[in-house]
């Protein structure tokens, strides 16, 4: 069953309801049609990339001893040096990004070090964390003694940290800061009141 499903999806474009292959006349239509299998209305947009086969490049074997070999594959001919570390790379190890050719290790290091901003796969929303720190523990009252100062620390620590790559305002930071200051003020008032009552 699993092999059959795999074959279905690898044969081309499939219907979204049952993952069944769509007939060719339906694939080229631009208007809403009905899938002959599941009878569901379906809208299909096919692009020229569908007809192109994508195959990776296979590294060339090392011909003579005088030829430079890949740093990672000693039997493969080097085709380019890494723009970061300068190691010779075969076509398999070369990762082309706009403006540079990197080896996998430098690529990984660049992604981890957030040098390649457009390849970032995740970002932490420090403003949301600050807001959660200022609001959620307040429901249990006592944690506020720790979380209110922690919120202010978090805001100061991450004020300049990168947030979302999408447009995003800083209102969460401002609101969390205001709440934290209010919580600390309330704590101070309660402590002073208790001390006065005891005297």
């Amino acid at each position: 069953m699993r092999a059959a499903e795999h074959q279905v999806t690898s044969n081309g474009i499939v219907c979204g309801a049952l993952s069944w292959p769509l007939p060719p006349d339906l694939r080229s239509s631009e208007e809403e049609m009905t899938c002959p299998i599941c009878r569901a209305p379906v809208l299909v947009n096919v692009f020229p990339a569908f007809a192109h086969s994508h195959t990776g490049s296979i590294p060339q074997p090392l011909g003579e001893n005088t030829e430079a070999s890949c740093f990672y594959h000693l039997r493969s001919r080097a085709s380019t040096p890494c723009d970061e570390c300068g190691r010779f790379l075969c076509s398999l190890c070369t990762l082309e990004i706009p403006g540079a050719k990197l080896c996998p290790v430098c690529f990984e290091a660049s992604v981890r070090g957030r040098k390649l901003q457009h390849l970032e796969t995740s970002r932490t929303m420090h403003d949301s964390i600050a807001l959660a720190l200022a609001t959620v523990p307040a429901l249990m009252v006592w944690p506020v003694f720790i979380t209110a100062p922690l919120t202010l620390f978090w805001i100061g620590r991450h004020w300049n940290s990168p947030t979302s790559i999408l447009p995003r305002s800083r209102w969460r930071f401002y609101f969390a800061g205001l709440l934290a200051v209010a919580e600390i003020a309330l704590i101070a008032v309660v402590i002073v009141a208790i001390l006065k009552v005891r005297r």
Partner: protein, 328 residues
């Protein structure tokens, strides 16, 4: 795509499709489609180069009208069959909310499932869940893709390409030359410290729980909710970040999380509960409420503190050995 760090301008394609844990949204960049999956505190990004997109299939479906009507009818019948005013009011409110949700659902138009296909993947776009959204999404995206790829000739899609080398059916034998292709160098993943922090918290909590169970209701109610909250939060964080960790640590983390969930209901929590109830009863007769001592048995105290200590030591040892093995 550039390497200068300059922020790229994105055009919003869909609204936020919200779930309990976050949202999903589609944006259009200069040369790629960006899908954002948010889990509140972290945004994850998926990029599809416009030149790589082979097809977009939108299938209408997933109607819920029957279920919605059944829920509304059930609420009405339950409301009518009850005699008390409270029950009538309760089922009336629930039915009204269900009816309002059904009306909103119908007003938003038919649901759909949208799939984006590339040579190596077939991704469901959760942010495109209505036909209306799908049409506006395609109205912007399709011209953008066509400006990169051009338009497809009328007869070309019929000639579906054969399976890509990586997508061969499982039943097909793998050809020998494919095995001789060298693999790219392996990349080492660094291990996070979330499990270690969890076990350190457990170590600290063992002392706090012991102190809480030996003292008064007031102290217990100050300490225990914090302890439970911290353990639960760190447990989830450690489990989420432990995908690349070894099986032994995963087992310890799973056992830890199970114990964290069970403890408030069978051990430390139940030890405090009788004292709490007794003090509430006594409070009506004028006794000071928060200063009532908890009558937890020594066995309970030792068990509540003991499992935390034991599992913390075990977990820290497993983490230590895992790191040592990874270093070698």
């Amino acid at each position: 795509m550039n390497r200068t760090g300059a922020e790229e301008q994105y055009v919003r394609l869909t609204g936020k499709r919200r779930t309990w844990t976050g949202f999903s949204q589609a944006w259009l960049g200069d040369d790629h489609l960006l899908i954002v999956h948010s889990i509140r505190f972290v945004e994850r990004y998926q990029r599809f180069a416009l030149s790589d997109i082979q097809a977009i299939v939108v299938t209408e479906g997933g109607r819920r009208a029957v279920w919605q009507a059944l829920v509304v009818l059930a609420c009405i019948s339950l409301g009518l069959s009850r005699t008390s005013a409270f029950a009538k009011g309760f089922w009336g409110i629930v039915g009204s909310v269900a009816l309002a949700l059904a009306i909103v659902d119908v007003a938003r138009g038919p649901r759909c499932r949208c799939f984006l296909q590339t040579a190596v993947s077939r991704e469901r776009l959760l942010c495109v869940s209505r036909m209306r959204t799908a049409r506006s999404f395609l109205a912007v995206l399709v011209p953008a893709i066509q400006s990169v790829q051009g338009t497809v000739p009328a007869e070309e899609p019929a000639q579906a390409p054969g399976p890509a080398p990586s997508a061969a059916p499982a039943s097909m034998p793998i050809s020998q030359p494919a095995l001789s292709i060298p693999r790219p160098p392996a990349i080492e993943r660094t291990l996070g410290y979330a499990p270690e922090v969890l076990f350190a918290v457990l170590m600290l909590d063992s002392v706090l729980v012991f102190v809480a169970l030996r003292s008064t209701i007031g102290v217990a109610f100050s300490l225990l909710p914090m302890v439970y909250f911290a353990e639960f939060l760190m447990g989830i964080l450690a489990l989420v970040q432990s995908r690349a960790r070894n099986a032994a640590l995963l087992a310890v983390l799973a056992a830890t999380f199970l114990c964290v969930l069970i403890d408030p209901f069978v051990l430390s929590g139940t030890a405090v509960w009788p004292g709490f109830v007794a003090s509430v009863r006594e409070a009506s007769s004028g006794t000071i409420f928060w200063n009532t001592r908890i009558g937890a048995s020594v066995t309970t105290m030792l068990l509540a503190a003991g499992w935390r200590t034991a599992i913390a030591v075990l977990g820290l040892l497993v983490c230590y050995f895992e790191r040592t093995a990874a270093r070698n």
